[in-house]
Amino acid sequence: MTSFFQSLGMPFEGAWLLSTICGILLIALPLMLAVAMIIYVDRKIWAAMALRRGPNVVGPFGLLQSFADGLKVFLQETIIPSAANKGIFLIAPVVTFTVALMAWAVIPFNSNAILANINIGLLYVLAISSLGVYGTIMAGWASNSKYPFFSAMRASAQMISYEVSIGFILICVVLWAGTFNMNGIVLAQKGHVFGLINGFVANPLLFPMWVMFLVSSLAETQRAPFDLTEAESELVAGYQTEYSSMAFAAYWLGEYANVLLMCALNATLFWGGWLPPLDIPVLYLVPGFVWFLLKIGFFFFVFSWVKATVPRYRYDQLMRLGWKVFLPVSLLFVVIVSGYLMATGHFA
């Protein structure tokens, strides 16, 4: 896109700036629309699994429900508790929302459709997702209220615990792909198994890693069964208890943008990203981003499915799973995968 603006007679820097801004808008605006729609889809899936109808009043099939909710929230009054730390209280949802959008910069939508094709793409994702915890902690502390504070404690412990095992899982992927670049990781999965199946997930050594990554991404986004931060039976609404109006909406949007991001990461790292599932020339006629969006949609369905069916974990069980099961197993797999790759001369 930079070269297009340059052909209009712009200097390189101006063209780069303009094309980057266009790229950001091209990702962020459809993402916001996707979040609005995916909330509707989420509610419809839960409703179907609970034999209910779900939202069906606003617009055809209730399609406009999220927009109606957005408008309602927009018109509400923002209430700030008098004992709250006002500055941090208002910054916290902005942090959550911004961080949820930032990581999309390195997600490849197609072979050349990537905003920032940087060498350290995966590390960037890890760095940005480790920032996400601040939105929660700041909200919990600044609300100056018991339940949000408990929730913030839980959230930060949970996110830090699962980031450790996610790091080890990603090391296995990076070892096999030989690069941190997201597009490089996608390309490394081309014809990975028998020269036919695109995706690390079909590899017997990486399949358990994918299962653990899926569970960890549920924990990282605080979705059920790991939604202890918003456990309504214990903590009212967790760190969001004191929030209203647009601040609350920012949390909601950020949360769903994070869920979509984790779906995108599952697709990119283990299911071949924008590659078709099989390495057959006919399938490449379908554009890459269609495959990518289909994969994201599939993972989102899995996330909703889990939320609709699985009961909430207890807090000590959550910690046990993170530290006593996932961490040793992922460490073991780092050893096994690197040993296998050394033995077969992968790095030669």
């Binding site: 820097e13 780069w16 700036l17 730390n85 941090i88 940087i118 060498n119 350290i120 590390l123 960037y124 890890l126 760095a127 940005i128 480790s130 920032l131 915890v133 601040y134 902690i137 700041m138 502390w141 404690m153 930060s156 830090i160 980031e163 941190f180 000590d316 069980q317 046990r320």
Partner: protein, 205 residues
């Protein structure tokens, strides 16, 4: 042009947030400003081409260390008046530390500019070998030339971690944890049994 604007933005933000870290009254605000300083320092590193170090700075310091700081500071019940009272008493010591740090920075940069260090060019650019990515260059150095030091650092961290666990861990009697393996081994017949009591007679349990 963008490069220069970005540099001054990051530099000013780093220095300013560093200053506010010290000056702000609320310790939680201090930690949050410190996090902003870390983040902007990472931005500066990206500008010099050290994107790997920048990512690590954000992951390790912002993502883990600062969260722990924040935890501790939020939990503490700090008496601000008492903190301020000690300021004059500790000022000479603080000034001494500042002077030592300044001297070390001057010494380090002086030695670096004198050359013969083979780390890169003195102006800080193009610190990687030609044609290598940042990560590859660092990995190449760490796992060949500095392998022993790297492993030694790992062992020291492991020892300190075990030490911290040994020092803080204590067995508390009277707590009951869940034993998952034991639960999974349990079968229905271990806990329940069927009886058919005759009419008019009770069941002994």
């Amino acid at each position: 042009m963008i490069h220069i604007i970005a540099f001054y933005l990051f530099a000013v933000m780093t220095v300013a947030s560093g200053a506010i870290t010290i000056l702000s009254r609320n310790p939680v605000h201090s930690v949050l400003w410190l996090i902003l300083a870390f983040f902007n320092a990472a931005g500066l590193m990206v500008l010099t081409g050290a994107e790997f170090i920048a990512a690590l700075l954000v992951i390790v310091y912002v993502g883990a260390v600062a969260v722990l700081f924040l935890f501790v500071v939020m939990m503490l019940d700090i008496d601000f008046a008492e903190l301020r009272a000690g300021f004059v008493r500790y000022f000479p010591f603080g000034a001494l530390v500042a002077i030592v740090l300044l001297a070390e920075i001057v010494l380090g940069i002086g030695a670096y500019r004198a050359g013969n260090l083979e780390l890169g060019t003195p102006d800080g650019t193009a610190a990687t070998a030609a044609g290598l990515h940042n990560i590859e260059a660092i990995g190449g150095l760490l796992f060949s030339r500095y392998l022993f030091l790297f492993e030694a650092a790992g062992v020291i961290l492991l020892v300190s971690m075990i030490g911290a666990i040994v020092l803080t861990h204590r067995e508390r009697g009277g707590t009951r944890g869940q034993k998952i393996a034991k639960q999974n081994q349990r079968r229905p017949q271990d806990a329940t049994f069927n009886v058919k009591p005759e009419v008019g007679k009770g069941v002994s349990l």
